[in-house]
Structure formats: structure tokens, C-alpha cells
Symmetry: D2
Subunit: 432 residues, 4 copies
């Protein structure tokens, strides 16, 4: 957890106070179930609810002696509740509390990240419609290809974050389980109905079968999804970084009034937010492998996963949550330069129309190979700044034998490329 | 691709022949759509279907000159089809073919792996019911905890592979898309209806919006799922390795007649299959990070993903497919030693009942802390081989003041632990 | 950074106070060099040394406005120094300060970790000599192989941590460089002698050529080494976990008086320290890939590496440092049970001597294949508890035709296996 | 191993034939040592050398029965050698052969990669001197910073590949060991002198202490180094990709005569080699984590590492070897456009001189903060194309009060930035 990349809402989920409060909720709900089944005396739950408290420092103090966090917690709670506390944790094992708690935290974290994705989606939709027909060059390999619109660019990201949203919902569902099944998952000393009760009250489903722990393939899946979403964040960040580079400057991160770009060079306006997002993506992704390594615990469990989760649990969710909001801000405030986009398209002498000409020649009966050769030999001259492509084509006897000057000029019409924008928008946004 | 870890069915998906055949299918279907819309002459598709052929070596030869695989392929096909070939690839870009083909391959690979998971599931279910009530010690931290059954152990894996199946179905769906959208995804020179036609014929859905390529977050998700499944394979493999170690020997991989365990030591019977599965899990997982790094392609695409996918595409699917079948075989043929399992349970002087006694003391009015102390002081003596726990407890005045000798013996009943096995089996298998 | 896995000495390296103090040192030393060359007024350095101060909160406050940490720092320092502060940072760029500072921190962190390795080495050496001739079974595949000594086991780890030490020294050297080369590494506005001066004063070497930053392949190498060392920690931790499992119990982590192993089961003594080390190893390793991804910065630099290093810089060093000391403690206090080790050796009816018998038969003129068959058929009977191997061999006519009963018994002498222990110890420890 | 990214020299190291030949060499050398010590009959080695042969298919056939590769190999060799073959593998264990062989292969692979690095270094040096004084803009964050030379850019890569070379030498040394220590490393049935003999003959050093295997921290370090070198390859590849993008076009991969850039767009010239190198870097890096996971083998060894190494051993070395040679070719043939580089520098109205002006103002007594403000306000106007920076500064009363027009123009001298190029070259190349 790096403070500067942390939103307080997400940090709050991972504090010791939050964790112990969830533990207390689980223990109390379990006692409640047992009380309803007549397994602990009437009034136990009410007494616990009335008097239960804990102090993080006191728990730490006890843990230093007993070297066991759940025992330390229970001891501290007992100091407040007194007699009735003996009915807490009856037939349960630490992992019943720890793992159900972790899942509650991961579900809450998922909800916050979903809100972040929603903000990204809203920003992308707004800006996509704003630039639905803003022409910009499409590039493959960093080389100009054919024109597209800036709205379509943004639509590709919207579709990607719709998928991110769907994946995160599934990841959340993966960890939305509760296990209260005792020391090795046999319910030897606790009725399965307790698990059902606690699960229902916490909005979780029961874990069909647990060992001592909730199986870690669930958490592995969760962190894997965070890694994929982080990579989608990186793709959008990379696009902005490219668009802002000096030679392109088709879009730019918002640069606030007092901001300084460089301690040495007062002229600099750097895409620092999206570069930061690129780095954060690396950090979030780094949680995936240890989460995968956590799956193969020994027998009914070992505790090697615990230290890993103390690290990646907060870190990966906090950083991705922060990244999503930072990304949303970048999109919301992105300064777009349509005139530069148009200038870029026009800077290459019409090269981006090479395919259209090739197809037109094929339609006129030229073989595909021959057409390719004819277009390429003129395109290479345009590349060397010997003239705009349409003019060179008109002067090429082999071409002009098939296409009139007017036909050639028609093939350089920019609007031609945008006739299916409505179709694409309808597919992505459900409206055009 | 390591030959010894390769099943021919999966290898067949990834041969050059398979790939080129899918390319040809895509090109032909696209021409068919255009013919139906009147965009290419009637009869084109029929002619292509009749005469189209390709030779891998010839394609390689052409590629060495033009340094472009799709162009090389089309040139070779044209050599066979003649005139009508000019209507192939009309308005399309290489990635339309390459990416749709890759998705077809990944879908087929997923289907094979699903069959592998089904075999694992069937084996686990069969063996789980066979050992539904075979007592075995549950272990946390490698230390004896409380008894469970070998059937429950297997049930935890069944539940995990049910999740694996569900995840793989979703991963398959992620890559079940077709994109035929032209150079930068604008359909500038090709009607979106072509994409719809090809998608439908190939059993895919249309990609709502593509750049030049099908977005790589889909493939990242796919490989991430393979990584999670591989980790589940590793968990089961690790369990078998532990059970087979000399000091435990509660289960053993099948050891065939002519097999030799060691070149030096004729007595050895090693869990080499599950150790191998552990290694294969590492290999499959190693595909996840490069797949994540493939997401952030530059602008409408760069081609850095291609070499990565040439590696991890075949490798990760081939190795996981092989691992699933090897795993299924291990489970099907696993030699189980119920008598050793029982001996293990009984080897520790009844220590595994410590929690039951603690709970019984609490019920008799002892505080949880006091009960813990009473049990632990006797348990530590049993640990030191000073006597079975029930006898020591009977001789402990503080305990015998609360529990009669008969009550204590009752607390050591093994069957007590298995009263909820039916519940667990019903949850996992839908029957008990 | 997870507080419970953090030693204060290492945490101190990574505080904002430490970082800003190093920045101030660098800036002051640079000014000193310029003053010596007559490029800034005499007395500048003295004035800075006398009055320079900074407040972390004030710097944070300024940074919130200017969004640039080095500018914020300089502004705060200027508030204290006044007039002469204008000669600070002359011709330098932020990265000159940031990167040299990071290297200073990484060097200090390496020194702390080297001390940790030294403690591990000392503990291993002491325990290795203590158990130089303590017989224990060697295991491959978890299956008994041939006897070795516990001292040899520990010697393998000592040799491995000697390598770890050597690697860490090299990693430290990799990042022991200083760059003060200006905005793009050309020394346009700063004399290379400034770099030489600062480097010498800080105990670093000059970076032969920098872009705007110190090249990140150096840091990648550093974190890669931490990942390898963490994996060696995991190997030793895994060994202890295996030795402590109930069925083996040949060694055990020290279990302190008040310690509780389980909230539910009072009898438990779990290898929680080494399980924790296994998890920490995963965490430390997770820094390697993002460090590798940090190498390919764009052009003369982008800032994507920064957020990554804010995470992995402290985290990986803090966790490995903690792990090394925890590991040293585990070795120092390890409870070893030589009697159990011997019992383990003897538990398998002498199977571990199978190779010796095979070799003896070969010496008697039996072919290797035939000898293997003869030994294996008796070994398999011993495996099935049909009798100790030496007795079975004596009763096997094909064997007793070649080996007398006395010869067979000689082949079961345990001391035979330890004749080269001195050689091994001399190789590893330089003494036997 | 992907055929198109494979050089035959490297592939040859990893064939079954090579592996079995090395096995035979090891077995023969071990027998030779024993013969010299009188432990096997005189003439054994000569007989083996004369008659020993093997056939890969026959070994495979035998392995299918015995499921053990070394036994299969020995059986096949025995079929040719006859009687004397019984003295092969005496007192050895399979890993003695397998691990020493793997190290021999990894050493040979390192030698090939060192040759690749040398070719990269030679190309970088040649091109660096060629463009030692070719002005080009330095960029941080993708934004123009200050001028540098293309030679300096290349020098940064030369220095990085010098480090790569040094690291690879160390990695090679890490795996340059031989272990012939028997089943659990005790030399129970083999004299340590055999190990010394084989090591010396193979140009290796002895492994000071082995378990059953050569410790895998060595191999982890080797693959980690490959990952770092691959990341350096990626940094250079990324630089070329940026320089070739349409808007920059300061350098370009060589584009051969018959080459086609796109199946759809005949005008395209794409940086496909460096994009490919970017992907290969991801593939090579993916070997690092499984290599780290291979370290913590169980007890004296398990065989989980084997399948991993069958994959990453050939794959990572083959792909990095290929990448190094491809990279060398890119540098050797890189088409550089100095005129475009100069045009780029001049395209921004002199903004890259902002720091010089700031420093000049500070020298004239302006405070650093005030100077920053003065320069930034004019720089922002130049950024908005309101005029070249020097002209705007001359027209700014606050600036012209401190700097004359002539002084301002002097501050825009390009050569100023290159005065330390000789120093840098001397540091990197040992000559200027």
C-alpha cells in the first residue's frame, strides 16, 4: 500500500479495525445461529451484542504472547463480554473466521472497484459520443494505416471495460462464500446450519465443501481478474501517452495551473498520470503469480497463503481502485486536439488510401498481385515526399489506364471511412 | 511444446495445416457472404471451394521472400484457384484472418481441455464415493488435526474442478468471437454483414468493436484461467505426493510391472507422475504474465503479441491438456491404503480429539481459557509419548472432576466426526 | 510493507525523512563540487549546511500544488536556507537526485540483508557441525533413498547461502552508481566532475552513461537476485516443514511457553514460522517481473518505473530482510530429534541399502540388469513388510549363491555412508 | 521452441542426440576415473570408447517400458558395448548424469549467447561512432527535453549490453559445475575423485555439496539473467519502434526489396523486427518465475523441476539467442535519418533550451522560482505556436531587463549540448 496511490474508502476496508469488526460480526452471528438451535443459552447473543468491544492495541499485546491472532482477539473480547463469551467460537476454527472475513473484505473491495469501472465507462461513453466523428488516423505498428474516428478509439476501450466489469462481477461471485465448517471441514463440532445462517446474514453463499480453509483457487481467480483489468488500464494509458508525445500531440492530459512538468525544463508538459497508470498496472499484475502459488496448500491447509494475502489483498485492490479513478479522471479531462488529428491524417500525402485504390484496381480487372505492385510503387514515392499519392497515381500510365483522375480523387474521400460508425456505436453503446 | 507432454489431439489443433485450413475456411466464408450480397461475381465461392489448396512448404518459401505470412498464403492459394482468387481477402486485413483463426483454435483447445476436466471429475466422483467413509486424518500445517474421510478430501477436489470447468467455459466464451472489420476496424472496405456471416458459420459471435485486432484482454483472461486450473492440478498432485511419502504411505500412484524407480536404488517407488504435474503447473502458469503483457498493444495494434502467442498458444493448452489427462489417470488408478490411514489416525494417542474435550469441558461450565489449559497440558504429555490422551485425562484431577471416565471415552469415538458426510456429499455431488 | 514482517532498521531506510535527507546530501555535495570549481559563490555550501532543513508535511503540502516532488523539496529547503539555495540543483534534473538517492537506499538495504545472510550462515554452520554425524535418511521424491547426515543437509544450505551472499554482493555493486548528468545525460549544464565528486563522497561509482535516469537493468538485476535468495529461503523452510510433519517429526521449530497452536485444537504445534517464510518468498519473488518490466522505459525515460519502485523497493527488501532473520532464528532454535531420525532410517527394513547390494552383486560378476532384478524382487517384499531386506536376501537362493550371510550383513553397515563427510565439510566450510 | 525464432546452432545443443552424447561422455569419463583408481578392470574405458553407441528411437522404446530415461539409455548402450558396460554408472545416480549434462548444455548455450551479445556490441559501437555527433532530441515522458546525439543514445545501449555480457558470464559460471556424488550426495558408493576427474575433463568445477541434484538456485540465477538481458533487448527494440513511427521517422528498420508490409495497405513499412523482439522478450522473461519455483525441491530432490527445464531450457536460450542476432541485424542495418532528427529538434520553436535560459537568469540574480515562472510563461506561448521561444523572450520585459537579445540567441546554440560527448564516449568505449 503506497499512500499516494490509495483512496481512503478502499484503505478503510483493510484496517485492523475493519477486520476485527467483521470477525466480531461472524462470531456473533454464529452464536446467534447456535442460540436459535438451542445449542447455547438464550440471551448469549444479546449479551455479546451489548458488551462486545475490542482494542487493536490490546489484541496486538496478547498476540505477542500467544502468537495466534484469533485467540488474542477472543481473549480481548472476553475481557469485555465476560461469562457469555465462552459460547463464542464454539466448534469453530480460526480459519472459519479469517477466511469468511477475507471474503467479506474482497467482496467490498470488488464493489468499490466496480464503482471505479462505472466511472471509467461513463467518461468513455461521454467522450466517445463527443468525438464520434472526429477523424483521426488509425495506426498499426505505429505506422499510419487508415482513418478512423477518435470516438471509435474510445469505443474500443468502452467495450473492453464492459468486459472488465463483467469479469469483476464474476470474480466477486467467486469469493462470495462463507465457510464455518470446523477444524478440517467436517462440521464435527458445529452444525452446518450455523454456516447457512452466517452466510445468509452476510450476503454470501455457503462454501459447498471446505478443507480447513476456503479453497484458494477462488482467490487466485479474483487476483487474476485484477491483473487482466490492470492490463486494460495500461492499454488506455499507453494510448494517451502516445497521443501526447510531442510529435503527435493529438490529445493531452489536463495540466493544472500551478503544475510543474520538470524541475529543470520549464516548458515540459508530461503525461505523468498515464505513465503512473502504466506502473500501477505492473504492480497490480505482480499479485497474480503469488495468488496462483497460494492455491496448492498442503493437505487441509498450511498458512503460507496468509502472508501473501496480507500483502496482495490490500495492495492489489487499493492500487487498482486508485488506478481506475485516476484513469476516469484522465478520460474526463482529456484535452483533445481535433485539428492536430486532421493534420496528422493529411501529413502523409494520402497514403492511408492505398487499400482503396488497390481494391478499385482489382474491381477494374487487375489481379491482386499486380494491383499491389502498382499501388506500392507509387506509395513508396509518396513516402519519399515525391508528391501526394493521388497526383502520382494520375501520372502513372498503368494506373490511369484503369482509373480516371476523377475516380482517383473520389478514392481519397475521408468520409468514406466513417459510414459504419453508427453500426459500431450501436453495438458498443446500444445506441448510435 | 514438449513431445512427451503432448497428446496428438491437441497437437493437431496447432499444426500449420490446421491453421492454414482455418484461414481458407474464413476467406471462403467471407467470399461467400460477399457473393450473397452481390459484391463478388456469382460462382466465386464455388470455384474457390472446388480448386483451393495450399502447401505448407510452398507458403514458407513465398514467405521467405515477402516476409508476410497471409500474403504468402494467398499467393499460394491463388496458384491453385486462379482468376477467382482475386475476390478472396477483399477489403480484409491480415488480422481479420489471423485473429479469427486463433480464436477458432483456442475454442477447439478449450473443448479438448473441458473433456480432460470431465475425465478428472468422473474419476474423482468414483473414488470419492468409494472412499466416502474411509477414515483418514485431516492435517493442517502438516500436523494431525481431526479425522475426516478420504472421500471428503476427494470431494474438495471435485468441487474445485467443477469451478475449473465453469471458468474454462467462460474463458472459451471470452475468445469465441470473430472479427472481419478491415485495416483499423472501421469496415471501410468491407460490409459488417460479412463478419456476421463468417461468425455464424464458425459458431462464433461478432466482436462488437475491434481495432485492427481482436482485443487481447480476451486472450489474457483465457490464459489466466489456464493458470488457475493448473494451480488446482498442482494442489491435487501435491496431496498425492504427500500421501505417498514413505512415512505416510496412505496412497500411491499405480506402479506398473516393468517400471523402475531409480537407476541406483531398486527399492524405489516414486510419485513421479504427480511431481511431473507439479512441474507442468509451473509451465502452464508461466503463460499468464506474457499474456497480460500482450494486452497493451500500441494504438490500433502492434505485432509484439504474435511471437508470444506462437509460444504460449500451443504450449499452455498442450501442457494443460496433457496434465488433465495424466491427473485423471493418477486418480483413476490411485492405490489407496485405508488400513494405513487408520493406523495414522491411531498413532498419536487420540490427540485429534483435543477440541471435543475442550468443548465438553466448556459445556460443563469451565471457561474456554481454563479448558484450553487443561487439555493442552495433557495433550503435550501425549505428544511426548507419556500415554494416550484419554488415559491421561482420566488421571487428571481437574478433568475428572468434570468428566467421568465413560464420558471421556465417548469423546474419543471416531464415527462422531463423520455425521455430516452426507450433507457435504449432497452439496458437492448433488447426491449422497 | 506489512508491519508484522518489518524490522525497524530496514524500515528506517525507506522513510520520507531518510529519502529527503539523502536528497539534501546529494544537492549539498553537488553544490560543494561546483563551489570548488568556482561555479557557485564561495560560502554557498557552508550556508546550506548550516541552515538547510526540511519538513515532510510542508513538502507534501507544496507538492499538492506543484505536483512535482523534487521542486516541492527544493522550495521547502529554500524557505530555510534563503538566498544561497538558488545554487542548489544547478544544471541538475530531478532524476539526478531521485535515482542516486534510490541507489543509496538500495545499497544500504543490501548491507542489512548481507548481515541477515551472515546470521543465517553462522547458524547453519553451528548446527551443521553439531549434527555432522547425526544419521538421517536422505529422500528423493519424498521416498527414502540412502542415509546421509543432518549435518550434510545443513551443509547444502550453507553452500547455497554462500552463493546467496555472493549474488547479493554483486547485486549491490550493480546499483552502487551515481548519476548527475542533467536532463538527458549530456552534462549540458553541469560538469561531469560534479558527478565524480558526489559519487566519491557517497561511496558510489559514476554511471558511465545515463539517459535521464540510471538504467533500470541494474535494478532489475538487483530484484532478480532478491527473488533467487527468497527461493533459497523457501527451500530451507520447506525442508523444516517436512521434517516437522507429524509422521516425520525429526525436527521442530522452537515452540515457546505461552504459544498456542490452534484456537480449536490444544494439541497442535505447527511449523508456522517456516510456512510464513514460504509465503514471504512468494511475496519477494513477485517483485522480479515488475522490475524486469521497468527496464524498457521510453526514450530517455518515462516515469512508469516510479510507482513500481515505490512499491517493490521497500516491500521486497523489507520482507526479505525480515525473512532472513526469521530464518536464522528458526535454524538457531531448531529442535532436532536424532533418535527419531535413526528410527526413521530403521523403519524400512534396510531398504536404503539396495544399491550397495546391487553393486556387490555386480562385483561378483552378475550383470547390472540381473542384479537390479534380484534386488528389486526382495526389496518389493520388504516394502510389503514381509521381512527385513537382509534376511530376505539371505533366503534368496540366487543371491546367497553369490553373497554369504556375513557379506550381506556387512552391506547393511550404516557408517559406510559417512566416510566422505569430512571431504564434504572441508569443501563447504573450509574445515572438517 | 518456435522454429521461426530458432538458430540451428542453438537448437543443436538441445537435441536428444546431443543430450545422449553428453551422457555417454560423462559415463565414460567416470569409468575412466575408476579405471585409473583400479576400481574397474583395465581396458573398460577403451572398450566403451570403441563400441559405445546409442539410437534415440531405441532408447525411447525401452523408456516406454521401464519409464526411466537413464536406465533406458544404459540398456541401449549395453546392447552395443556388451560385458564391459556393467562398469558404467557404478555407484552413480541418474541425476549425476542428468544434471551434469544439463549444465554442459547451459554452458554451451551461454557461449552462443555471448557471441550474440558480442555481435550486438560491435554493431552498437560502429553505429555509435558513426553518429557520435548526429544531433537528435532527447525525450523524457515522450516529450522533447534537450538535445543529445544519436551516438549517445547508442552508447547507453552499449553500456547496457556490456553489463549484459558481464551478467551472462557470471550466469555461465553459476552453472559450470559437475556433480557425481551418488544417490543422496554422500559419495557412499563412488569416490569424490571421480567427480573431480569428470569435472576437469568437461571444463567444469566440482559442486562443493549436492543433494541428489545440483542445487537449482544456480539455474534460477541463470534464467533470471536471461530475463534481465531480454528486458534490455526490449528497451532497444522499443527505442527503434518509437523512432520509426510515422510522426517521428528518425530511423527505420531496413526494408528489403520484396518485402510487403501489409496484406491490405501497400504503403506500409512496419517495424516488425523490433515488435517481434518485444514479444520475444516477454517469452524469455516468462522462464524466470518457473525457474525460481524450481529451487525449493523437496528434501534431497523431487523431479518437478524436470518438466519445467525441458520447456524453459531450450525455449529461453533459443529465443534469446535468436533475439540477440535479430537485434544485431537491426542495429547493423538501421536506416538513420539525421535530417529528420534535426528537423525534429527545430520543430518546437527552441523550447528545448528552456533550462539554459532559466540558469542564465539565475546567474543574473533572479531567484530560481522567479526564473522558472518567467521561462514557463514564454514556453507555454511557444507551445501554443505563438512564436519561437527566443523571440518571445526578447519581447518579455522582465527577461530583456536581464538578458540582451544577443545573450538570448547565444543560449540557443545547439553545439553547447555536445561538449561532453567525448567524455561519455571515453567512459563507455574506452576511446572517444
Amino acid at each position: 500500500m503506497i499512500p499516494r496511490y490509495t483512496r481512503p474508502e478502499m484503505a478503510a476496508i483493510w484496517t485492523p479495525e475493519s477486520r476485527f469488526q467483521i470477525w466480531l460480526d461472524i462470531e456473533t452471528l454464529a452464536a446467534e445461529a447456535m442460540e436459535q438451535m438451542g445449542q447455547v443459552p438464550k440471551g448469549t447473543t444479546a449479551a455479546v451484542r451489548e458488551r462486545a468491544k475490542f482494542e487493536v492495541e490490546r489484541i496486538d499485546e496478547i498476540e505477542r504472547e500467544v502468537k495466534h491472532d484469533v485467540i488474542a482477539f477472543l481473549t480481548n473480547v472476553t475481557e469485555h463480554v465476560g461469562e457469555e463469551a465462552r459460547y463464542l467460537h464454539m466448534g469453530m476454527t480460526s480459519s472459519d473466521v479469517l477466511d469468511t472475513c477475507l471474503n467479506v473484505q474482497m467482496v467490498r473491495a470488488a464493489d468499490l472497484m466496480l464503482a471505479g469501472i462505472d466511472r471509467v465507462l461513463a467518461a468513455l461513453e461521454k467522450r466517445a459520443f463527443e468525438h464520434k466523428l472526429t477523424p483521426t488516423i488509425g495506426r498499426s505498428h505505429g505506422i499510419h494505416a487508415e482513418p478512423t474516428t477518435f470516438g471509435i478509439k474510445l469505443a474500443t476501450f468502452h467495450a473492453e471495460f464492459q468486459r472488465a466489469r463483467q469479469r469483476l462481477l464474476l470474480a466477486k461471485e467467486e469469493v462470495s462464500t462463507c465457510a464455518i465448517s470446523g477444524a478440517v471441514g467436517t462440521f464435527a463440532n458445529i452444525d452446518p446450519k450455523v454456516e447457512e445462517h452466517v452466510a445468509a446474514k452476510l450476503g454470501l453463499t455457503i462454501e459447498p465443501v471446505s478443507t480447513q480453509v476456503i479453497p484458494r483457487d477462488r482467490h487466485a481467480m479474483y487476483f487474476a481478474v485484477l491483473g487482466v483489468i490492470a492490463s486494460s488500464v495500461e492499454r488506455l494509458a499507453t494510448e494517451v501517452r502516445h497521443l501526447q508525445r510531442t510529435e503527435v500531440l493529438e490529445a493531452e492530459e489536463f495540466f493544472s495551473a500551478g503544475q510543474k512538468g520538470s524541475s529543470a525544463m520549464p516548458h515540459k508538459r508530461n503525461p505523468v498520470l498515464t505513465e503512473n497508470l502504466t506502473g500501477l498496472a505492473r504492480l497490480v499484475r505482480s499479485a497474480v503469480t503469488p495468488a496462483l502459488e497460494n492455491v496448492a496448500l498442503w493437505h487441509e491447509r498450511d498458512i503460507s497463503h496468509s502472508s501473501v494475502e496480507r500483502g496482495i489483498g490490500p495492495d492489489a485492490t487499493i492500487h487498482l481502485d486508485f488506478a481506475l479513478h485516476r484513469l476516469a479522471g484522465v478520460v474526463e479531462n482529456l484535452v483533445v486536439y481535433p485539428e492536430n488529428m486532421l493534420a496528422t491524417i493529411n501529413s502523409m500525402g494520402g497514403l492511408h488510401n492505398s487499400q482503396r485504390i488497390l481494391l478499385a484496381l482489382v474491381e477494374k480487372g487487375v489481379s491482386r498481385e499486380e494491383a499491389y505492385r502498382l499501388v506500392q510503387r507509387n506509395a513508396m514515392r509518396t513516402w519519399k515526399k515525391e508528391g501526394p499519392l493521388n497526383e502520382l497515381l494520375k501520372g502513372d500510365a498503368d494506373v490511369s489506364a484503369r482509373l480516371t483522375a476523377a475516380e482517383i480523387d473520389d478514392l481519397f474521400d475521408l468520409e468514406y471511412h466513417f459510414k459504419h460508425v453508427d453500426t459500431i456505436f450501436a453495438r458498443v453503446f446500444g445506441k448510435a
